[in-house]
């Protein structure tokens, strides 16, 4: 433990260890001193010294600048105007640290360690590192001399090491072990079922972090290398990994719970959520590869490429500039790129898109060094720093630049010999009896040559063999169709390539003297094309909407003071439905309800707000619809079904603010939804209640002050009746009952243990450790304490009765039975228990346990005194919940007003939010819907939907949006076609399937499979 701490906090290590293997030959004791003179020296991206000297000794910079005195023992190289740069640093690499294979996993002896294989905090890159000469060589070719690498496998991944990219033994390459501790939300090669969702990954890590801290204090504990390592790592540098922009706030929130922060490897799409990214306060490591364009020349194919994808193509190269402009610190990484060598082209695009060119270089040199605390040694060329640098032909970002050499820790690697002759050009070839034209094209090593008579057209030229070796050339050719008439030349190259001369032999054997003089230098057509492309990148326009999918806002709508005049108002209060009534909204609340409201009189002060009038004549105004059972706007998995109890997972961790279904729900008059965990297990995860504030980030969607809730489930899903073979407990309803009893007995014990501790006086606590926090049991203890409410997926009467018995005997109340399709059979018992029913209007016959579901369920429950709601569990139906409410009129004759409450006030009661939402009266949240007609009518359409007095859906604005999106799509599709015409690679258009969750969707990979959604 002490070792790890030392590694994390100590100053840079001294020169390499003394314990290298003994030599097997006489020592190579020659001084390693080099002086590079006459260079254009870039000590960093902003400082350049002309005619400078760089002096290095034993892998370290001794002097760098003008007027350096070269010591006698130095090997001197005159760079003759070439450039010197600090070498690049790759901050996010898996060099030499491949993910574990299945075989390795099987062979791994688990020993006494953490039960979950996705937690591998005890892995240390410098212990696992295996030299990978090929990959290191590829990085060197592009100018990298250092990489911070870790094994990218698991949720807690252990530590990274800074690795010098030379060809020494691992012990010499590792220049900084334990550079940082790495974390992700992906379980990688772990064979464990848990976690199977994003929220499960977050929950696992959260618990592990609590455990690690507890582990340090606890006197009696099981030995656990993972927790021991993790405890130390939480005191050092932390690097996290995001799969998309919305993971960024997730990481910052999680770390903040532990008073921590860290670095974050982003996905390159941060541009779409800059305010949230900035607020997260985590320095980033971001990729910068130009995404491939889609082939959209066929208009039908173009239909399949979403606006979000088109925009990503447009904005990916602007990400760096936008991050920089927003004042967000970041470094660049090449991790994940298809073609490493394209990085230079892409870097130039970043600059063309607005990023300062010096900054672009800093993001690959000093910035990554700084992020990992290596900037005293790497990232610049100052005395005392490591001699890792580049010799280049031009400025690093110049399109004609060539990296000639990459020096790693004072060791030279030749990439492109500056001595290599560049022969491309057109030459006058003097053959004593004739003057021909010799045309040489291509790069050194790949030269091609053609010969023709000066007066002949280009088409008559013949290909010549050209070989260059050192300063010697060998050429031969023969006229078309006459292979026997071959002419052969050999000679020397002079004047940097411009003049060649030597001896030749003609057909027939006669020798002669020849010479060639260059008239013009050759260019490369390809480069011209790239240049064109880069210039285009600078011209790109287009706004960033919130969210950056279709129907996002260019400008976020604001709360206004609005009076809706002369509408039919469904108050959901004792006042009932009021005709010709006005409703005044101010400050996000309902301010007044009445006939012919005198608005100025409502505001007694001198300053009157400006009031926006909406004509409600012939229209109906209601409060917003509340969907008790929704799975929209959830990222990467709705079920953590891998254990039968997963009360520790939280939907609130994985709210997806970019889901178009938020907007679609608003268009159906929905303003609040409870996002539920799925029903794959007995006790699922904690729910989130969100308001549909379309455009805001995830945290701002959460309904502030909502009571904590959790999902339970019963019946076929939790006993896994309807999918493949399974043996996870429980397999019967009997097992379900005992799972509950066992869980709550445990939770009682847990609560008692903590109560005892909390009651202890400080004196009594000495020498004892606090009991371990168990987030799974803590959530259950909250239920026992009456602080967390339940929505329980349920169908048949026996299981409904069972859970109520469990609850009664454990002294808690089941707040809501959701689905509850046989609720009508046990309505009196439900009323006695004090629970609510949230049901489907008319679903049945989709599984065995719903054979006795009837559409009269809502009416019977309602009539027998149970607070009853109608929910969707379906992203499609949720936007027609008004129609579903109308079915309570059809099936069982519920009055229109009471039916309407089933999708508004009654679910608000279940959520214990009816003091704020679910009705229209002064002081309530202004969550309102203006309908074209009676909301229970099949002809009803929402014209405007307000949340907190902000109009998030407006039918008229929606029509404008459509036109705008069409225009944007057209512009982007044209730009892509142009890119294709300019030679950019393209990929085929594919269909982006929406990730619609329903209760039974397992794992986060579920959305990759086709097939019908089978709902609850």
């Amino acid at each position: 433990m002490r070792l790890i701490l030392a590694a994390l906090f100590c100053a840079p290590l001294l020169a390499h260890a003394q314990t290298s293997a003994p030599p097997s030959h006489v020592r190579d004791a020659a001084p390693k001193v080099f002086a590079f003179t006459n260079a254009i020296l870039h000590t960093d991206a902003r400082t350049v010294v002309a005619k400078a000297t760089l002096l290095i000794r034993d892998g370290e910079v001794v002097a760098a600048g003008a007027g350096v005195i070269v010591p006698a023992d130095a090997v001197v190289r005159d760079l003759n105007g070439l450039h010197l740069w600090p070498a690049l640093i790759e901050p996010y690499s898996d060099l030499g640290l491949a993910a574990s294979t299945n075989e390795e996993r099987k062979a791994e002896n688990k020993g006494a360690r953490h039960w979950n294989s996705a937690l591998r905090a005890d892995a240390r890159a410098h212990e696992l590192y295996k030299s990978d000469g090929e990959k290191a060589g590829k990085l060197r070719e592009q100018g990298f001399a250092l990489a911070v690498a870790h094994r990218m496998d698991g949720i807690a991944r252990g530590t990274s090491a800074a690795i010098a990219l030379n060809d020494e033994a691992p012990v010499k390459c590792i220049v900084q072990p334990d550079a940082a501790a790495h974390f992700s939300f992906r379980k990688g090669s772990s064979p464990d079922n848990y976690p199977s969702s994003l929220m499960g990954s977050i929950a696992l890590l959260r618990q592990a972090m609590h455990d690690a801290r507890w582990y340090e204090q606890a006197a009696s504990k099981e030995p656990d290398a993972v927790l021991e390592s993790l405890a130390a790592q939480l005191k050092g540098r932390i690097v996290t990994e995001a799969s998309d922009r919305n993971d960024v706030p997730r990481w910052s929130r999680l770390l903040k719970e532990f008073g921590l922060t860290g670095l974050l490897k982003g996905a390159g799409d941060e541009y779409a959520r800059l305010p949230e990214i900035k607020a997260a306060g985590m320095p980033l490591i971001v990729p910068f590869a130009q995404p491939e364009a889609y082939d959209v020349e066929d208009p039908y194919d173009a239909l399949e490429v979403s606006y979000a994808r088109l925009k990503h193509w447009e904005l990916a190269m602007r990400n760096a500039y936008l991050l920089d402009s927003a004042g967000i610190a970041f470094a660049l990484t090449t991790h994940g790129r298809k073609e490493l060598k394209d990085l230079w082209k892409d870097l130039r695009k970043l600059v063309a898109s607005g990023l300062d060119s010096a900054k672009a270089i800093e993001k690959l040199t000093v910035e990554p060094a700084r992020l990992f605390g290596l900037d005293q040694r790497y990232g610049a060329l100052r005395p005392g720093m490591r001699a890792s640098f580049l010799i280049t032909s031009h400025h690093l970002l110049h399109e004609k630049n060539t990296i000639h050499e990459t020096w790693v820790e004072g060791k030279r690697f030749t990439i492109d010999d500056p001595g290599k002759l560049k022969l491309a050009g057109t030459y006058n070839l003097n053959l004593a009896d004739a003057i021909l034209h010799l045309e040489v094209s291509g790069e050194p090593g790949k030269h091609e040559a053609h010969v023709r008579k000066p007066d002949e057209p280009d088409s008559l030229k013949v290909k010549a063999r050209l070989e260059v070796s050192g300063g010697v050339v060998s050429i031969s050719w023969s006229p078309k169709g006459k292979p026997e008439e071959i002419t052969r030349l050999n000679g020397s190259v002079h004047g940097g390539g411009g003049v060649w001369d030597g001896q030749g032999q003609r057909p027939g054997g006669a020798w002669f003297v020849w010479s060639a003089v260059r008239r013009a230098e050759g260019g490369s057509e390809k480069k011209d094309k790239d240049e064109k492309e880069e210039k285009k990148a600078a011209q790109l326009v287009g706004s960033i909407t919130f969210p950056l999918v279709g129907y996002g806002w260019k400008e976020a709508p604001k709360a206004e003071t609005i009076v809706i005049r002369n509408a039919t108002v469904w108050t959901n209060t004792s006042k009932g439905i009021l005709r010709n009534t006005d409703v005044l909204i101010h400050g996000g609340m309902v301010k007044a309800v009445g006939e012919k409201l005198d608005v100025p009189a409502v505001f007694p002060g001198k300053t009157k707000p400006s009031v926006f009038e909406v004509d409600g004549t012939g229209r109906h105004l209601t409060c917003g619809i509340i969907d008790e059972h929704s799975h929209i706007a959830i990222s990467r998995g709705v079920n953590e079904g891998s254990h039968h109890i997963t009360s520790e997972v939280r939907i609130g961790d994985v709210v997806n603010p970019d889901d178009i279904n938020i907007y679609r729900n608003l268009s159906g008059g929905v303003t609040t939804v409870q996002q539920l965990h799925g029903s794959a297990n007995v006790i699922g995860g904690q729910s989130a209640v969100i308001k549909l504030r379309w455009g805001h980030g995830a945290d701002s969607l959460l309904l502030e002050g909502a009571r904590p809730r959790i999902k339970f489930a019963l019946g076929e899903n939790v006993k896994q009746s309807n999918w493949g073979p399974s043996s996870r407990f429980p397999q019967t309803r009997m097992g379900v009952e005992q799972a509950f009893y066992d869980a709550f007995h445990q939770a009682r014990g847990y609560q008692a243990e903590h109560d005892r501790w909390n009651a202890m006086k400080p004196k009594e606590r000495t020498g004892k450790a606090a009991p371990r926090r168990d987030l799974r049991l803590e959530a259950l203890a909250e239920i026992l304490r009456g602080e967390r409410d339940i929505s329980c997926h349920s169908y048949v009467q026996s299981e409904i009765a069972m859970l109520m018995h469990v609850a009664d005997s454990m002294r808690f109340t089941v707040n809501t039975f959701t689905h509850i399709l046989e609720g009508y059979k046990v309505a009196p018992a439900m009323k006695a228990h004090g629970t609510s029913a949230s049901t489907f209007s008319d679903w049945w016959a989709y599984k065995q346990e719903v054979n006795e579901a009837i559409p009269y369920n809502a009416a019977l429950l309602h009539r027998n005194g149970v607070n009853t709601g109608i929910n969707s569990d379906d992203a499609e139906m949720s936007r027609r919940l008004n129609q579903e409410a109308a079915k309570a009129v059809k099936y069982g004759g519920v009055s229109a007003e009471e039916a309407w409450k089933m999708v508004t006030l009654n679910p608000a009661r279940m959520l214990k939010l009816d003091h704020r939402i679910g009705s229209i009266e002064p002081g309530k949240d202004a969550d309102l819907v203006l309908w074209n007609t009676d909301p229970l009518s099949i002809d009803a359409r929402a014209l405007k939907t307000y949340v907190d007095g902000v109009c998030y859906f407006d039918e008229a604005k929606d029509r404008e949006q459509r036109a705008w999106i069409a225009g944007e799509r057209d512009r982007l599709v044209r730009a892509m076609m142009q890119a294709k015409a300019d030679g950019a690679p393209t990929r085929k258009a594919g269909r982006e399937r929406p990730r619609l969750w329903c209760c039974e969707d397992l794992g986060e990979d579920e959305y990759l499979h086709d097939g019908d959604h089978i709902h609850e």
Binding site: L303, P828, Y846, A853
Partner: protein, 431 residues
Amino acid sequence: MAWSWLLWLPIHGYAQIPTPAPPQSRSILITGCTVHVGDGKVIDDGAVGFRSGRIDYVGFDYGVKAQYDTVIHAKGQHVYPGFILPDSPLGLVEVEQTRATVDKQDVGRYEPELRAISAYKSDSRVTPTIRSNGVLLAQVAPRGLTIAGTSSVVQLDAWDNDGAIVKADDGVFMSWPSAYQRQGWWAEPGETDSEKKDERAKKLDELRQFFRNAKAYSATKSPAIVDVRLEALRGLFDGSKALFVRADAAREITEAVQFTKAEGVKRTVIVGGYDAWRVADLLRDNKVDVVLRRTHSLPMRPEDDIDLPYKLPALLKERGIRFCLSYTGDHEHAGARNLPFTAGTARAYGLSSEDALRAITLDAAALLGIDQRCGSLTVGKDATLIVSQGDALDMRGNDVRWAFIQGRRIALDDHQKQLYRQYQGKLEKGQ
């Protein structure tokens, strides 16, 4: 009212499945109601009369009462042709997730020989709940990979399969191979594509060969060796069967129409047809009709107009494409009782009231090839009709008081209503 006492006789017991009604013995006139003919016409204060199972009067409500044994006074109520549900696994599925009760899909890729009617369960517990909302006819169609099988049109009140048949083996159902692969998010792009493209080309070629074989086979009236698959396709080439091709994207629809034309299929109907409005000319020119996907569905593409599925019927109407509505998708068998409300939504989004009705009556009948007998309240056609208390396309108005199939007054009780009564009784007694 005096004449109608017979209607109140308890003609069914309390069995879970209502007993099929006997043939019409007495002539019936429904009077005083709004008659929605199905072809777009509406008669206020109208009357509909029928005897021996056939309609013999549609018109104003005077001077005809004396000619009928029974008169139903339906003042303020609405009479509609029975609604027609196309492309449904009704009767092939009892409980979706209980495998033993599901007969909608077999293994194999080219299975036109599978006949829905052979597995159709005329005494399904689901069917009466569908009828209760006015759906009286259905096209029962198998589900499958490429060629799923052969459909039949049935009426929903029968003792057995044969008795249910309105038109046996009316069409072959196939799904056009999907033109677009699903791709992942940009952070994890899914694999592309050239390989998959080849796979698709192979699949299309295989399909073409299959149709060519079938065409050649159909040239011989009684082949020496019988191939049940090719035999099942025979009707496509002489027009006795229609080919129902499931396709949604414009490219897929276009390919399907060109393919079937080239292979000599006499009558093609597109099923799904999300993009049909985009290729309206092609469909009109080739006289291809569309069984439209459920209006109550989400847009297929993320930034499509949020109400596009709702207004697709209006778009097709505008472009002169003949279509009917379906309830294909999640919960398709038991949920089909909502078919009239999907028509109601089409009306809310631009279709006229009577055009919305037509899309679940006369045009549905035309697409299924049964419009000589069904689909509208027309003299000579089957007396297959409903009487609803209010607007049957609206949840609150849809209250079917009487329903007749071929003149037989069918029971409107069902399993769910029985449970309702049973438990209402229990609860009222405070048990």
